[in-house]
């Protein structure tokens, strides 16, 4: 159907009806010159709302759009449909990516709260979590990369002179509050990055310090052993004069 812009290297492909592959987007395009058919509007709204009750309806320059997660319907003149379908497929992908990043970030908040401690004070217990923290940090970088990849497309400037597709794209991006959401996600990511960055810094400091401490403790143990041996020498010298003699009452356990 269409190829997504360069860094994404993805393509929207229309599946035949009954295909076994799971479709990411169900797109219903209705070629019609009139967007004022109440019955059609009601049925399309119902169809889109079946997948998502928060579906949006947009009437725009002779096109009628029903926009929901996973389900999109469009009514427009036959000649206008192909570019509209392409732009809807593209936007649905961005919306999906954005929603997924939002979801993952949302799920990561409890972890972040749990991991906030080591950002302030890193101790032995935190050191054990290092792998887990590193994994979270990597996941976070993954989210950041995903977002960064789609952001240029989400924040594409206004096209002038506009085409219907560009107008629909702008309108939908605006309606889905994509630029705001990107901003919010970036702010959240910054919080995450700040915490995990601090944690990783603390972790490496802690590891470096612990190595030093461990070495000190090993030296202390050796010194203690040496002290013990010296102590024993003193103790045994002190008993050298008193030779133990067998007594008759001692027993063994």
């Amino acid at each position: 159907m269409c190829e997504l812009p360069a860094p994404l290297n993805r393509r929207a492909v229309a599946l035949t009806l009954g295909s076994t592959q799971a479709a990411e987007l169900e797109l219903l395009s209705v070629p019609s010159d009139s967007t004022e058919d109440a019955d059609l509007t009601a049925r399309l709204r119902e169809w889109v709302s079946a997948g998502n009750p928060a579906a949006q309806v947009i009437t725009f320059q002779g096109a009628l759009l029903f926009w929901g997660t996973g389900r999109v319907a469009v009514v427009a003149a036959p000649s206008r449909l192909p570019p509209l379908e392409a732009v809807l497929a593209e936007l649905a992908y961005y919306e999906g990516e954005l929603a997924d990043v939002e979801r993952q970030l949302g799920e990561a908040w409890p972890d972040l709260e749990a991991d906030g401690g080591p950002a302030f004070e890193f101790d032995e217990r935190s050191a054990k979590q290092r792998d887990r923290l590193a994994k979270r940090f990597r996941q976070l970088l993954g989210l950041r990369a995903r977002l960064t990849r789609i952001v240029p497309m989400l924040l594409t400037p206004h096209v002038y002179p506009p085409t219907l597709a560009s107008q629909v794209s702008e309108r939908l991006r605006e309606r889905s509050r994509m630029s705001h959401r990107v901003e919010m996600i970036q702010e959240q990511l910054e919080v995450f990055e700040r915490i995990y960055d601090t944690v990783s810094q603390r972790a490496s400091d802690y590891r470096a310090n612990r190595k030093g401490h461990l070495l000190e403790m090993v030296i202390i143990v050796f010194l203690a052993a040496q002290t013990l041996l010296v102590l024993f020498e003193i103790l045994t010298n002190a008993t050298a004069t008193s030779v133990p003699t067998a007594t008759t009452t001692t027993t063994s356990p």
């Binding site: 054990k128 013990l228 001692t250 027993t251 063994s252």
Partner: protein, 363 residues
């Protein structure tokens, strides 16, 4: 929460100890495998301490409170060991240094050192292992053991030397058993934060156990070929008194293997779930190991002393000469059965026991 594998091991340890004490004290017989009871007992004390610490942490008990109670429990056992020597053996044996004093010291040390990394505690155990024979040489161990039992003057240097090196269960090397138990317990029962996704792997325990057993056998085999004075001073063969390097590595290795194996079979795979009665018996025995340890001594030593005192020259007249080996072996299960019944009753009637006394005093 009870851990069936530990109940079984504790029951085995106490049974072995009853057997070895009956054989030695009543019949004067020494049986090498029976010498495994005390180290296993000490090792399990470390494991139990680990489990107790973990449960306290899970309850949210403060770090300081755990340390305080831990040290108190260690000191309680230490004092109990001294009291045990005084009352169960004889006042003259106050400074014999029983296994309880070694375990008590070990637990007090662990309460303070429990936050140190497991690897470091293992290193400390290794250092204890290495310097123990040198301390013995320095102290002239054999001079304290003239007639197969420990005897010393009641002077401070000798008491200290006995406590550290030459007594029955001197700190060096016996304290390494509770420490090793704690380290092994930490590997199997890690902090919730350290726990991975799956159950902890016991492979390191089994590997270290096998290495230690192999080291024990190797030391035993190469001992005759080593140049003097190594075979006569440092290595001693499989002897419990003194606890020779061969003995320590061997019993520690076996303890690790048993602990790891039973943890997998009994706790994780529930292989013994079909024998609930057996598990109930071991559970009861395990809950009262300390009491049974004290009780069986009272049961077989006090009659000996009383009978010896009234019928012979001295109280110890019949020590090691009271009966035949067969008789002693036969009395062991009887004693264990009596102990079990008393423990069972104690549970039902909530009688005070050594364990409850410890909790009352320390917690």
């Amino acid at each position: 929460m009870r851990h069936a594998s530990i109940d079984i091991l504790r029951t085995a340890a106490i049974a072995l100890m009853v057997l070895v004490h009956f054989l030695e004290n009543l019949a004067g017989a020494l049986w090498t495998p029976a010498g495994f009871g005390a180290p296993l007992f000490a090792f399990l004390a470390g494991v139990s301490f680990r489990i107790w610490v973990r449960s306290q942490e899970a309850k949210g008990t403060s770090d300081a409170a755990i340390t305080k109670v831990g040290v108190r429990r260690g000191l309680f056992l230490f004092a109990l060991g001294l009291g045990f020597n005084f009352f169960v053996w004889l006042p003259d044996d106050l400074y014999n240094w029983d296994v309880l004093t070694a375990i008590g010291t070990g637990l007090a040390v662990l309460a303070l050192a429990r936050h140190l990394p497991g690897g470091f505690l293992a290193f400390v155990s290794a250092v204890i292992f290495v310097i123990a024979p040198f301390l013995r040489v320095q102290a002239d161990y054999d001079a304290y053991w003239l007639e197969l039992y420990f005897q010393c003057d009641k002077t401070l240097p000798e008491i200290l030397i006995g406590y550290f090196s030459t007594g029955y269960f001197p700190l060096f090397p016996w304290v390494l058993f509770p420490i090793a138990g704690y380290v092994a317990g930490k590997a199997v029962y890690p902090d919730p934060a350290d726990a991975g996704d799956g159950p902890p792997s016991v492979r390191p325990l089994l590997t270290w156990g096998a290495v230690l057993v192999a080291a024990s056998v190797a030391l035993r085999v190469v001992r005759p070929y080593l140049p003097d004075p190594l075979p006569s001073t440092i290595l001693k063969g499989w002897t419990m008194f003194p606890a020779s390097p061969e003995y320590v590595t061997g019993v520690l290795g076996i303890a690790l293997i048993l602990f790891g194996t039973l943890y997998v079979w009994v706790d994780r795979r529930q292989k013994l779930a079909r024998f609930p009665r057996l598990l109930a018996v071991t559970r009861t025995m395990s809950r009262h190991t300390l009491s049974i340890y004290l009780l069986h001594h009272v049961l077989h030593l006090w009659p000996l002393w009383v009978y010896g005192y009234f019928s012979g020259d001295t109280a110890t007249a019949y020590w090691r000469e009271a009966m035949s080996i067969e008789m002693a072996v036969a009395l062991t299960p009887v004693c264990l059965a009596v102990c079990y019944l008393l423990a069972w009753w104690a549970d039902r009637r909530e009688w005070p026991t050594a364990e409850s006394a410890m909790r009352w005093v320390c917690d």
